[in-house]
């Protein structure tokens, strides 16, 4: 590290704080409020004439700005959140952080479409959870406990957006997070956003899905009422049984721990991706090997877009195993 990421002042390799602006050099995170998607320099029609409101002066097409396409990269992890092709706005959010020599944390939340301002809910939730998880990394506290606290904090943050006069449409969202420390990966979730372990080799710790959806259909499958195949076609397959937000009450996440014996990636994603690539085999078949996390994320998001991009697509890719000094 030679320059402060905040103020660009030169910093020494051993410095923990920037002498110039006081920034903690050991902690890096996505900005609160979400990474700012940059406007394209050129419209898809080829025109470079974009007006101040982000519309093309030639074809009138709205240019992707702000939340429509967010990309962010930190060492060993990267994420992309894309509006997709069919939704008017991106209601997914992502946040992540890296603490030098301790580990990384990442969160994906998917705003519930039937609630109001669910884009704000998902953003508030990821930011609140990220603050808790990054603090836990800095302090070296227990990842499983941190995950429970992060969900409580995210639930509060989303719940504060509710209007008392409109409890039925209280802003709400799903939640999935992963914390990678030297002792393994802890995944927590509420709702149907997913985490997958995708092994590079798979001989020792085979690829698998780490989460079970909190949906009515999944519940019915678990109870033996529906088969897996029936559930996919059931209209309740996406109806959430648990979520975060003003009308969710007290929520504690499901938590699982993964201690892989080989290298690979942990993938966090919203249903905008897994609708097209539901099984680990699908994901393993599509993802490029040996590529940087951002490249993997781009490839997966592009696959979902090309398949129709019916929903918002959010993907965070976390490298696991390999070099120690992360």
């Amino acid at each position: 590290m030679t320059n402060c990421p905040e103020c660009d002042a030169p910093v020494g390799a051993q410095d923990r704080f920037c002498e110039e602006c006081g920034r903690n050099l050991l902690v890096r995170t996505t900005p609160v409020g979400g990474p700012d998607g940059s406007a394209a320099a050129q419209c898809a029609c080829g025109s470079e004439d974009i007006d101040s409101d982000g519309f093309c002066e030639l074809c009138g097409r709205s240019q992707p700005t702000g939340r429509d396409r967010m990309e962010f990269v930190l060492p060993t992890l990267a994420g992309i959140s894309d509006r997709g092709r069919r939704r008017a706005r991106n209601e997914d959010s992502m946040a992540f952080g890296q603490v030098h020599a301790r580990g990384v944390a990442a969160i994906v939340c998917d705003g519930v479409a039937s609630s109001e301002r669910s884009d704000e809910a998902s953003q508030a939730a990821v930011d609140a959870a990220n603050a808790v998880l990054v603090d836990a990394l800095v302090e070296g506290s227990d990842p499983e406990r941190a995950t429970v606290l992060a969900v409580a904090s995210a639930n509060r943050a989303a719940g504060e957006l509710a209007r008392p006069e409109a409890p039925d449409v209280a802003p709400s969202c799903t939640y999935v997070s992963a914390m990678r420390t030297e002792s393994g990966v802890v995944v927590g979730w509420v709702g149907d956003s997913r985490a997958y372990w995708l092994a590079d080799d798979g001989a020792k710790t085979p690829s698998r899905r780490l989460t079970k959806d909190d949906t009515w259909a999944a519940q019915l499958v678990a109870d033996g009422v529906l088969t897996e195949a029936e559930a996919v076609n059931d209209r309740r397959s996406h109806v959430l049984s648990r979520w975060l937000g003003g009308d969710s009450g007290q929520v504690s996440p499901h938590v699982v721990t993964l201690v892989p014996e080989e290298t690979g990636i942990v993938l966090l994603c919203s249903d905008g991706l897994w609708n097209y690539l539901p099984e680990v085999e699908d994901l393993d078949a599509v993802r490029p090997r040996g590529a940087a996390p951002l490249e993997v994320a781009r490839h997966l998001v592009d696959t979902a877009l090309e398949a129709g991009g019916h929903d918002n697509i959010t993907v965070v890719v976390i490298e696991v195993g390999g070099a120690d000094d992360r």
Partner: protein, 426 residues
């Protein structure tokens, strides 16, 4: 004086997959704020009085016209430029005597009024020539607000409709002209054509006694204008066509054919002089269909002064969605004014059919008009309709044609058919 302009757009921007037509109501509001009206030197007014032979009968008609002109002259502020033109089968300066404008003061008022009182009626009617003289006179005026009042009692018999159309095409946009028909021997369609081309109002003054008040009101309105020569600029994206641009309040006025190209994918529509007032426009653009989830700027509406200053701007959007709850939502403003435009058309078609003896079409059209006027709360028009048809059921529009209808009632309905009811805003 600088007026404050505001542009608001009302629409449902959500379209179903494959849809191309984007409708929006654009409300333009001008407020004079605290400032005084425009300086007198900016304003020029020409009064054109029909002095054709028919004005002699009944004698009250010419007397009323003279009285109204005198009243209008009295209503002009000191410093305003003015002229009075006599219209027959030709056009002649009444005041000042030579072609040009006089500046209002006590002396010129007296002189002008004396000459107006001495007017006599003789000869024919050629409105195009009247407007041509008014245009020449007003062309000498340096200020921005040029207004004329045209009073007639008869049909344009001494020139062909083609001649009148040519004249209108050449003077349109150079000044505004409010038209008044006195009595019942003039043609509504003809005078409406003149008023629409000149961006002015048209009305019937069935009783000559009402002329003086009407002239005073028109003059006061003209004096209250702050900005002349305003135009509405519409940008549309590549591949789009403008289906129509209509003023829909206070009256229906189709501006579609008034477009002059002003840049790539951009055209200007003249909307005349503005005081403190608010008008609504219905813009309909056909765009290239885009994919679900796409957002497009389907139109950008700007308001421009004659010198090209932008007074305000609004955006017409298109967002394609597969959520039919969004795309089937009906925008109140668009629905209301679509109904008001249909109302005007139904009245005009119905009266036309009635004149040609097609009872069935006349009954159907005027019945539809009654239903539209009732459902939209346009009570003024509903009352005028009730003088022409017997209303059996106003809600369904069940009507019977009245066997006997006063000419004045029929002409009043026809003339005011384009007057819309403002959309109610909660």
């Amino acid at each position: 004086m600088t007026a404050e302009f505001a542009v608001e757009v009302f629409q449902n921007e959500y379209l179903p997959e494959g849809a191309r037509e984007v409708d929006a109501i654009v409300t333009v509001s001008a407020s004079g704020g605290s400032s005084a009206p425009v300086s007198s030197t900016d304003v020029a007014q020409v009064i054109i009085v029909d002095c054709s032979g028919s004005m002699r009968y009944p004698p009250a008609k010419l007397n009323a016209a003279k009285h109204a002109t005198v009243t209008a002259i009295d209503a002009l502020r000191d410093g305003v430029s003015f002229a009075v033109v006599e219209g027959t089968d030709t056009a002649r300066m009444v005041y000042p005597r030579e072609e040009g404008l006089a500046v209002v003061n006590d002396r010129t008022r007296l002189e002008a009024k004396r000459l107006v009182r001495g007017l006599t009626a003789d000869g024919g009617t050629a409105m195009g020539r009247w407007l041509t003289l008014a245009d020449r006179v007003l062309a000498r005026h340096r200020g921005g607000l040029k207004h004329a009042i045209l009073l007639t009692d008869g049909q344009n018999q001494h020139e062909t409709p083609a001649q009148l159309s040519r004249t209108l095409a050449s003077v349109s946009g150079r000044f505004t002209c409010d038209c008044r028909g006195v009595g019942t021997d003039w043609q509504v369609e003809e005078l409406r054509k003149v008023a629409e081309a000149m961006l002015g109002s048209v009305d019937i003054v069935a009783d000559p006694q009402g002329l003086a008040d009407d002239f005073r009101a028109m003059t006061a309105t003209a004096m209250g204008k702050a900005v002349g020569g305003v135009s509405l600029r519409l940008w549309t994206p590549e591949g789009a066509t403008v289906a129509f641009v209509k003023q829909v309040s206070p009256t229906v006025l189709d501006l579609t054919d008034r477009r002059t190209e002003s840049g790539p994918r951009t055209g200007d529509y003249p909307i005349g002089a503005w005081g403190s007032e608010s008008r609504d426009y219905h813009v309909c653009v056909r765009v290239k269909a885009a994919g679900v989830g796409d957002r497009m700027l389907a139109g950008r509406v700007s308001l421009l002064t004659s010198t090209g200053d932008v007074l305000g701007q609004g955006r017409v959007l298109a967002v394609w969605t597969d959520d039919s709850a969004l795309s089937t939502r009906i925008n109140r403003e668009v629905a209301h004014y679509t109904g008001q435009a249909e109302l005007a058309e139904a009245i005009q078609d119905g009266l036309e059919a009635r004149k040609s003896g097609d009872v069935e079409t006349a009954t159907a059209k005027l019945g539809r008009a009654v239903a539209l006027a009732t459902s939209s709360g346009n009570t003024d028009t509903a009352k005028l309709l009730a003088k022409v048809v017997d209303v059996v059921d106003p809600v369904t529009g069940t009507v019977k044609l009245r066997p006997k209808v006063e000419d004045a009632d029929e002409m009043t309905l026809d003339t005011r058919s384009t007057v819309t009811k403002r959309v109610g805003r909660p």
